[in-house]
């Protein structure tokens, strides 16, 4: 009976083109959209030489060291300097700042680039003051020796950070929960108070627990298969990094696929709303959880982590996202296992809740 039900459910699910399309193709479409929209995100905010214009009157200021300082900045790739009679280039937004004198600069708007220009000029002015002070207090000091640059900062930055990955991880989480559609479909075939087909199946001489177990297993396998395909698309077409630990990734796929199916079963048996409402509710809840996990605004997950971490621990999409992120970013597996534990607990709770609604039901009429 188990084998029979299992194979028939697989056939039914595979024949449901709409289900296959939306569980498999929809996340792939969204993934491609992400790639198109966020492909440049890792290059955003990277430092580029800052275009500045320099007043041609600057030499009249009589500060001998200032042009040397600016030349150094240009040689180090910090500034890209153009000489200009006035601030026309600034007004045309061709440069970020127009340097009028060592202590006077004009900018278009407050920005990170204009702040860097300001900070570097402040640094110059500060050292000018310092040199005057030292020459006054210790006239025999060799200032050029004091100005020799020493390394004051040790850069201990870790590996390359690609924000696009985090968006892709939320997509994996979203896809796992979209598996609710598989769960909803199978439960409408076996829970007698939900559909005509289920009523027919309910009076068949089969053990309900066996057929529901077989159907759940089939739905789980289907969800795992579409997730695996999407993961391959992400890895090899969209170039998403998942780290090099394949087994934990597969473990996460397996568990999250079951969470999605369990979510669908729970949605199906926990209330008597029409199927259209349940489908709509499933989509809306999945999208909301994806939003909270950072699918539309990556920092949302961090904001929740800071202010209400319990929401992330109860949100399966956030847990999948975080587990994939931890596999990519951290060498250890502690955080991965923590996420797996929470995800496992949610899955068990959904399955236990569904069993509660399904078990030992006697119907006076249907």
């Amino acid at each position: 009976m188990f084998k029979h039900t299992f194979s028939y459910i697989i056939k039914i699910l595979l024949r449901s083109r709409q289900l296959v399309f939306w569980s498999l193709v929809f996340p792939v479409i969204i993934g491609l959209l992400f790639k198109l929209a966020l492909g440049n995100i890792s290059n955003a905010g990277k430092f580029e030489p800052i275009p500045v214009s320099l007043s041609s009157e600057i030499e009249k200021e009589g500060d001998f060291y200032f042009p040397i300082f600016l030349d150094n900045m240009e040689d180090e790739g910090v500034f890209k300097i153009t000489e200009a009679a006035d601030d026309a280039l600034l007004k045309d937004k061709k440069v970020v700042a127009h340097i009028i004198s060592p202590d006077k600069v004009e900018v278009n708007s407050p920005s990170i680039e204009s702040s860097i220009v300001e900070s570097l000029l402040n640094q110059y002015l500060g050292y000018r003051e310092a040199a005057i002070r030292v020459m006054r207090d210790f006239p025999n000091t060799d200032i050029s020796k004091l100005l020799e640059r020493q390394s004051l900062i040790e850069d201990v930055s870790g590996r390359e950070m690609n924000m696009f990955n985090t968006y892709a991880y939320t997509l994996v989480g979203m896809q796992s929960l979209y598996g609710y559609a598989w769960g909803l479909t199978i439960i409408y075939l076996y829970q007698a108070n939900l559909s005509v087909k289920a009523r027919r199946n309910a009076i068949a001489p089969t053990k309900k627990s066996v057929v529901i177990f077989a159907a759940t297993l089939a739905a789980w396998l289907m969800n795992m298969a579409v997730m695996a395909v999407n993961l391959l698309v992400m890895r090899f077409i969209l170039n998403v990094g998942f780290g090099d630990r394949l087994i934990p990734v597969l473990g996460l796929v397996a568990l999250s696929a079951l969470t999605g199916v369990a979510f669908g079963i729970f949605l199906g048996v926990s209330n008597r709303r029409p199927i259209e409402t349940k489908i709509g509710l499933g989509i809306v809840l999945t999208m909301t959880m994806s939003f909270l996990a950072g699918m539309m605004f990556a920092q949302m997950k961090i904001l929740i982590q800071r202010n209400a971490p319990i929401i992330n621990q109860l949100n399966p999409v956030a847990l999948v996202t975080d587990a994939l992120y931890s596999l990519y970013f951290y060498p250890g597996l502690e955080r991965y296992w923590l996420n797996m534990t929470f995800l496992g607990a949610i899955t068990i709770a959904l399955l236990a809740g569904s069993t509660f609604f399904m078990e030992r039901k006697n119907y006076v009429n249907l």
Binding site: S114, A130, V134, M161
Partner: protein, 368 residues
């Protein structure tokens, strides 16, 4: 007017989805409203950083004081710091190690080649470098700190080429940009769901024998679409007034509202066209999600346009949202009706084309 009456009854039954989309938007709107900063003169950007002082010497304490003025120190858990750095909510992690007094080295972590990180890096160099400079010249630690702090008072005078209201309206524009998503999702979802129900074979058959003309039925449905969309638009416009009191009824705010009104009309036309193509009630939710997400991502409603590649921007042009977001961005620098007229024209043109096309496409009757 039974169709009209039933229209709102169905819409009410779908309220859960509407409310959830609205709640998602409310969360975002709250975040945008935090950006409701008054316009003013130039001020330097304060980069968010996470700072740990393990040394606790006079110099390290002075550095912490300095950075607390020059940057935005985030008080977060140590274990969260790396996540915050990855997600860009802090731009650098600065550790002043225990042996700072002897090594004079600060540990620094940031995203590779980050501009924000560069600024923090420079600020640290400015401060620690200056103290080293004074100490090498022969001053004591206390004198070096005092001199450095005094030098920091000598600053460059930064002026704005043109007084700008950009900072004042940035949050408001972000609000209206994101509004694209809930308006699209909610109007498309409700209109297409209702139309799918009215296009059910059984209901179509019943309607065909009712003593009401087709034109009157269409008019009732159309009035329902417009009224429902208007209610949503008015609610979000009122919310914008609540969140952004400082700019409410300003020219920019009114023009942003006008732009969103035209978008709303365009979405109604899109929804009507969609119902002619997607008649399966189960497929509507997914179709709405694809359109709403694609449109929002490719138009720059979710992420700033400078992050989008050329292909994304070229593809985005097929969506009315693209012209809507472009108008919002234009209004940030040029709050003038003439600046947004061409794109308003394009949105109205797209709506007209969609409505004309939907008149010629007869939907396939759906099964209940």
């Amino acid at each position: 007017m039974s169709i009209f009456k039933y229209y709102f009854r169905i819409a009410w039954q779908r309220r859960t989805a509407l409310i959830i989309y609205a709640v998602v938007f409310l969360v975002m709107a709250t975040l945008f409203s935090m950006n409701d900063t008054p316009a003013g003169d130039y001020s330097s950007v304060r980069v968010p950083i996470y700072l740990v002082d393990e040394s606790e010497t006079k110099t390290s304490k002075a550095l912490v004081d300095f950075l607390s003025k020059e940057a935005e120190l985030k008080s977060i858990n140590a274990w969260q710091a790396e996540d915050e750095l990855f997600y860009g909510t802090v731009d650098a992690i600065i550790t002043i190690p225990k042996d700072f007094a002897s090594t004079r080295k600060v540990l620094y972590q940031s995203a590779p080649k980050s501009s924000n990180g560069f600024l923090v890096h420079n600020k640290i160099e400015q401060f620690v470098g200056k103290i080293n400079f004074y100490q090498s010249a022969g001053y004591t630690e206390e004198e070096s700190i005092a001199n450095t702090l005094e030098d920091l008072g000598v600053t460059v005078e930064v002026s704005l080429a043109k007084k700008s209201d950009i900072a004042k309206y940035r949050g408001l524009v972000a609000y209206f940009n994101f509004l694209n998503y809930p308006l699209l999702s909610q109007i498309l979802l409700i209109v297409s769901t209702i139309m799918a129900i009215f296009n059910r074979e059984t209901i179509l058959n019943r309607h065909s024998i009712a003593p009401v003309t087709d034109a009157f039925k269409t008019m009732q449905l159309f009035t329902g679409h417009i009224l429902l969309s208007l209610v949503l638009w008015l609610a979000y416009s009122a919310l914008a007034g609540v969140y952004f009191k400082a700019t409410f009824l300003s020219k920019t705010h009114l023009l942003l509202s006008l732009n969103s009104f035209v978008l709303m009309a365009c979405i109604v036309a899109m929804a009507i066209a969609l119902t002619k193509l997607v008649t399966n009630e189960n497929a509507i939710g997914s179709a709405v999600n694809v359109i709403a997400l694609a449109s929002s991502f490719l138009s720059g409603a979710f992420v700033p346009r400078f992050l989008l590649g050329n292909t994304a921007l070229a593809l985005g042009r097929i969506f009315p949202s693209f012209y809507y977001v472009e108008n919002n961005e234009r209004l940030l620098t040029d709050p003038d009706i003439y600046a947004i007229l061409p794109n308003l024209g394009i949105m109205i043109g797209i709506s007209a084309i969609l409505l004309i096309l939907s008149m010629f496409v007869k939907p396939k009757a759906g099964k209940a």
